[in-house]
Symmetry: C2
DNA sequence: TTGTACGCGTTATCAC
DNA sequence: GTGATAACGCGTACAA
């Protein structure tokens, strides 16, 4: 390993001087600087971030905690975070929590042990001791808790839009799929949809699901059509569930969107590749990741931050699982 | 920050003793140990991994470099790596390379600066200086290079299987989609398919694609049916491309699999949710991640490793984009 | 069985 | 302008 001492020896100066040119701190003669830079280049020296981190008590590392990168919604989030962090020289320590509080605690602990300078987490337990006791800046992503820094999409409005659109397009017997009870965005979506349905005096049914995971979405799709065979409109809790519903509807010989309309949530990349392609409520997922990163960077680098709760807008994406809107012609 | 000194002070012993109980090294009296453990619990002490890393010149961190986590193939790989690493107490520093050699170099450098103890990379440049000069254990994942530790699937056999199956199921005018020329597994698949087609004296066409990315797969699907309108069998380079081809075929009013059969590659999670669901060559993606992690752990913890080149088998998954095999009844 | 002292690579303070 | 040197938190000879 090549260290700052080697550079100092070769350049014929002290390590203090090398440190100065490295960090552009303090005075250093132009000639001296050149000698040092030459030495650095000669032996291809790069500073040991671990030693830096030890001394400064903080690293250039960010902890990123996601429920499950295998769920196609999260990679975009992660990518947004990474790209933005990269721009400011921060790197990611990454972990999947599987919505398991113990695993979260374990990861957060590792983050702290590694002197991460901040954490971004899509946790289901934002009010857990894990986070309230955390001494470093934290941003909740796709999650929120009172007054804590967070970035998320407007789920309630998304639910409202989904309900309005599916009604405007002619569904009369709507079934809402309610996502996991403990996940705030899922409940927001659900409530938004219910609100509109109630306002418009529509009858509707509800199917409850317990997870957002890939595995085991089919059973809920089957349950839906067994319990409510006459459903002619489905507001799904996310695109994965919507995809399973679509699959099951087609399997049962139903025409989509003629017999049943389906609206998803998220607009994950595969939605547009389905046949028929999936109408859905678009979330600016990648940008949410970027925003969370930007917010965390502000929290780290600035004293005070004005807006630390960021809600991003959603929008309806019309594709082929909904009929043309008659009203709009 | 609570340090080993605090523990020592509270327990009324020296830091050396605390260190001994922490690392279970050397002798320590049972009573003393209990006092130390009590103190640790009392002030909730956890060792500073940065200081450890500095002293030992290596951390518990692993560098994981993937082309793009947004491509649905890679999250499973990442998950496999993480789960296995977790079991041995290693954590991941993660980065997307975008198949960009400069970004790779940048990340590898960061990994080294952070004392990672090993690297797993799905690089397109395994023979680059970046890797040949690397002083720490490295495992190539879903990639391979002569004699270097690597874990990958048997692409050639996969290509052969795909061709055999699509022929056995009655396709006469087959089009193969050839993945990016610089990615070894893509070429293996292609060659395997071509081999069988040649052996059986079938006529076939080839469409060349330049990337495995999501964006811009549609154009190739369109190109395929414009150039080779009579195609009745498509061997796609991966499931994303296959999905786009399926989408386009249905859009053109073709019946799948009656008019055209489609076989994908990878068996990403969405494949089974498509309508019709996608027949494909299954890769044990998650297990590949795990295997790569296991191999790297061996490389790190053992002196010599017998098999450092691991090729995993693939298999055909029959779903709905292929017809029933007549021969098999 | 336990404690002292040093070094890991870096930065910051303070002389010179 | 530059160079010693202490300190960051930990692990390990070596001494006691």
């Amino acid at each position: 390993m090549v260290t700052i001492k080697d550079v100092a020896r070769i350049a014929g100066v002290s390590v203090a001087t090398v440190s100065r040119v490295l960090n552009e701190s303090g005075y250093v003669n132009t000639d001296t600087r050149k000698k040092v830079e030459a030495a650095i280049k000669q032996i291809n020296y790069t500073p040991n971030e671990v030693a830096r981190s030890l001394f400064k008590r903080k690293s250039k590392l960010i902890g990123l905690l996601l429920p499950d990168i295998t769920n196609p919604y999260f990679p975009l989030l992660a990518r947004g975070v990474e790209d933005r962090m990269q721009e400011n020289g921060y790197r990611l320590i990454f972990g999947n929590s599987d919505e398991n509080e113990f695993k979260e605690l374990d990861y957060i602990q590792t983050f702290v042990q590694n002197n991460v300078i901040g954490v971004i987490s899509s946790t289901n337990f934002p009010d857990s001791d894990i986070y309230t006791k955390l001494q470093i800046p934290i941003v909740f992503l796709d999650r929120t808790s009172n007054e804590r820094p967070s970035v998320y999409a407007d789920g309630r409005e998304g639910g409202r839009i989904a309900a309005k659109e599916i009604i405007a397009r002619g569904s009369k017997r709507i079934t809402i799929i309610q996502g996991p009870a403990h996940i705030k965005p899922a409940q927001d979506r659900f409530q938004g949809a219910v609100e509109v349905l109630e306002e418009m005096n529509m009858t509707y049914n509800v199917i409850q699901t317990s997870s957002f995971s890939y595995t085991g979405v089919e059973p809920w799709a089957k349950e839906l059509f067994e319990k409510y065979i006459n459903t002619d409109g489905v507001i799904a809790s996310n695109d994965i569930v919507a995809t399973a519903v679509l699959h099951e509807a087609l399997r049962l010989g139903k025409s989509v969107p003629q017999d049943v309309q389906i609206i998803g949530f998220d607009d994950i990349p595969l939605s547009s590749l389905l046949s028929p392609s999936l109408s859905t409520i678009h979330q600016p997922t990648y940008d949410m990741g970027r925003e969370a990163a930007s917010l965390l960077i502000k929290l780290i680098e600035q004293d005070k931050v004005e807006d630390s709760i960021i809600q991003l807008p959603v929008r309806f994406v019309e594709r082929e699982t909904t009929r043309r809107n008659q009203e709009k012609g």
